[in-house]
């Protein structure tokens, strides 16, 4: 069905020149990791200015993750994932959707914390930030596998799948 709605697909099996999802995720990965770094440094050096830097980065990450999922779903649907790649893609999809809820939830929590007192950060929030960081790193690892190990949307792999040598 998707094929009828999109322009003709290129040799990456995409309706546009290159994959977009790995670009949009810059703004989730970098912002979440940097927000956590700012929180940790801010907490131990008592530089409360960094709490604001952290909050605004999380704010932006929350917007970005939904855009990342939209492109992620489009590109996953067009990825022609072959047998060995499928479990990794499934887990990446599941964790990606979960992360949208987790990132939005943590940012919401941060909004309330900031509303009450922007100079104070409960230690529990740092723990949540650490867990989020670990989840994001694992999600990056899964996505890296899809691109660099399984080669989804790379020309040689797409070619082999279309020729039928890889299924």
């Amino acid at each position: 069905m998707l094929e009828n709605l999109l322009p003709p697909l290129n040799e990456h099996n995409l309706p546009y020149p290159d994959t977009i999802h790995p670009i949009v995720v810059h703004f989730v990965i970098a912002m979440v990791l940097f927000a956590f770094l700012c929180d940790v440094i801010g907490y131990f050096t008592k530089n409360h200015r960094l709490y604001e830097v952290s909050w605004w980065n999380m704010f932006f990450a929350t917007i970005s993750i939904f855009i990342a999922i939209i492109f992620g779903q489009i590109e996953a649907g067009l990825s022609l994932a072959y047998y060995a790649a499928q479990p990794v893609l499934n887990l990446h999809t599941l964790l990606g959707w979960s992360l949208s809820g987790i990132v939005a939830g943590i940012t919401g929590w941060r909004y309330v914390i900031r509303l009450q007192d922007p100079q104070k950060l409960p230690f529990a929030y740092l723990i949540a930030g650490l867990l989020l960081t670990l989840l994001v790193l694992y999600q990056v690892y899964l996505g890296d596998n899809l691109v660099w190990v399984y080669g989804l949307h790379t020309v040689p792999v797409v070619e082999a799948i279309k020729e039928g040598t890889l299924q």
Partner: protein, 201 residues
């Protein structure tokens, strides 16, 4: 690079041509680009703050102008620091690259041309990012430390220009990965006539 030298190393490395499973450079690129672009973006938000005040009020999000400039500064600083590592890992991995030969990218460049431009571009961008950070630091701590609008328009303009360079540069990098199959495990297995479904299961 010298083909024989690479071959000596390759025998010890994995199917992706690296001594580890996943390339490091593309991951650090997330940080370089994310931090730079969002740094500039928040400086834009800070500069245009008078126009946005009512929006933030409507959304019930407390916002102070100086905080946006804090984000602009710290994100740019972090981008400059991390980019040294982005470039360092990039050179390590580009020297071990073993691209598909005899094809042209979507931009009509061969593998070696793409790699050379991406290598040179990386050093140019590192220089520009460090330069922007120094410029931003001067605005923050010396030239405009007492002004409500901490950032010059020209800084933002150059920022957008650099983003355009980043787009060109990033597309060359995407061509290396997606078209020339550099450091791609499944792509290399296919080149060797092996079935990724068997070796990557």
């Amino acid at each position: 690079m010298n083909y024989e030298l690479i071959e000596q190393l390759r025998s010890q490395y994995g199917a992706n041509g690296l001594p580890y499973a996943i390339p490091i450079h593309p991951n650090l690129v997330h940080l370089t680009l994310g931090l730079f672009i969002i740094g500039i973006a928040f400086d834009v938000v800070g500069v245009l703050f008078p126009l946005e005040k009512s929006v933030f009020k409507f959304l019930a999000i407390p916002a102070t102008r100086t905080n946006f400039f804090d984000v602009g500064w710290y994100n740019m600083l972090a981008s400059a620091i991390i980019t040294f590592f982005t470039v360092a890992t990039g050179f390590y991995e580009i020297m071990l690259a073993y691209p598909i030969n005899g094809i042209k990218s979507a931009w009509g460049l061969g593998a070696l041309e793409t790699m050379l431009w991406h290598g040179v571009g990386g050093v140019v961008l590192l220089t520009l990012i460090v330069g922007m950070t120094v410029w931003r630091g001067f605005q923050r701590y010396l030239w405009r430390s007492d002004r409500a609008r901490q950032v010059q328009w020209s800084y933002l303009a150059v920022g957008f220009l650099i983003m355009f360079l980043m787009f060109l540069h990033g597309t060359l990098g995407a061509h290396m990965a997606g078209e020339f199959g550099v450091h791609n495990t499944a792509g290399n297995l296919l080149r060797l006539g092996k079935d990724p479904n068997v070796f990557l299961n």
